[in-house]
Amino acid sequence: MTDFIEPRKSSELGINSVPFVEVEQPGAAPLYEQAKGFWVTFSTMFKKNQTVQYPDVKAPTAPRFHGRHQLNRHPDGLEKCIGCELCAWACPADAIFVEGGDNTPGNQLSPGERHGAVYQINYLRCIFCGLCVEACPTRALTMTNEYELADDKREKLIFEKEDLLAPLRQGMLAPPHPMYPGMTDTNYYNGEVTQAHPSQQEQN
């Protein structure tokens, strides 16, 4: 055992046996070949240009573009988010803050026992990787195609739950309201609730 290792010469490593190939290097290309580039730029002037006049014309994104998030609802209007914080744990940029809360008979925001009481996404941190969407067990969190996320105040770029919640559609009822009579949360996840109960709609 020696405490000093002699550096080996390249000949000992056997890396010198590189096959030696005779290559003739081409000289400069003929002048007319070199002049071809001028024709490229000249002819390009008469082609249709590719610029999108952005603020005036908004080109659609790719269908699976990662844009701003959205918190989805069940068809009767109850929120899908159950405040489990899996999205926050999955987030590599630490952009999501969630606080769960208990559903009470007077304050039923989602089917089952829990709902997301506080839900914030910080778009100054978010890298739009979509790992939160993959982590979500109830498909509450998805991404939209909206990409215009610029503002003049840092505070404005921390989106609260109200900013992220999907709008109420036909047949939906704004929570809090009780679950569909006779249905459990399992029925909700199996897609058996298709709209708010008629009696509930009349109440509002």
């Binding site: 290097q25 580039g37 002037m45 240009n49």
Partner: protein, 409 residues
Amino acid sequence: MSTAELLGKDPGWIIAVKALIVFIICVVATLMAVWTERRVLAKMQLRTGPNRVGKFGLLQSLSDGVKLALKEDIIPAAADKVVFILAPIIATSMCFMAFAVIPMTGVVNLFGHQTALQLTDLPVGVLYILAVTSIGVYGVVLAGWSSGSTYPLLGGLRSSAQVISYEIAMGLSLVAVFIYAGSMSTSAIVDSQHQNIWNAVVLFPSFIIYVISMVGETNRAPFDLAEAEGELVGGFHTEYSSLKFALFFLAEYVNIIAVSALATTLFLGGYHAPPGLGFTEQWLGGWFTFIWFITKVNLFFFIFMWLRATLPRLRYDQFMKFGWKVLIPASLVWILIVATIRVLQQEGASRAVTIAFAGGVALLLMAISSLTDRSKKVSGAPLAQGESPEFPVPSLPHLRSISVTGGQK
């Protein structure tokens, strides 16, 4: 009546008005040139270019100028304050001065006065332009030096070396014009082309050398080594901001327009119409000649833009080699030929003798160029059996083993 005599009758107020007009032409031309360049360059790259400020974005450069003027004006702590402020003033004022001897129109009526749109007519007008533009280089060098910073200094040095080298080639290419026209006055050169044929045709090699060296002279792509963004941040004007930077910007474009105007004057017949369209020169009371002048200058400006869109920047040593080893010798040989032909003509030699001489020279040049083999073979003998190179290289095509055989035996 010659132009010099015509201009000699100008009263003082007409001279002042013309000076103002020349100044306005330069500034407006710069604003338009910046816009044109950005639009044309964009078209060459499948883009649109500035199109939001004003109709077609025409006011873009004006708004950029206003923005620049409103920016904070910073003078670095390490800068030599007096020279730092003086440098952009030198650079800008000198390129404006070059316009004084450019004839822009034929005889026209200016506020009821018969004159030509040319501030003054010097017997050595072209030399004056060369002198004035050379002083403009001081602006660049002093800007680089006074900034008290490394990259601007390097940019300034590069720029001065570049402009000085290419000015030689430029000056030599002009010598042929002087010999042919028999004068150094800009208006006399224009007249001689009007009587004979454009210098761009008879003195075609001079024309090519001038066009190349004018790009080098103005520090424009592909010769924009002085402000090579990737190497020197911004070159000599790195430390400049606000109006002082705007002055350099203005100087660059006025310089481009000045060398283009000089090229027009010396090689493309100046303000005269192209052959066959001579009747247009009487239109608008003679002012139509100004349109011809502008058109020709724009032609050169388009070449500037086209080069910028097409060619990558040269390496510094290649650039210097091109100037000193190609352009200058070629100019010298060409001047010898032109001078000989000129003397033959003046001595009353017959046309046959002149043509025979020109043909002989052409044959000689062709023979020399065919003898020199331009295809380069890579030196470095193949290795003997069992011999191992000291530094291994991967066996890639075109990557030959110059370094491989360099080892000690």
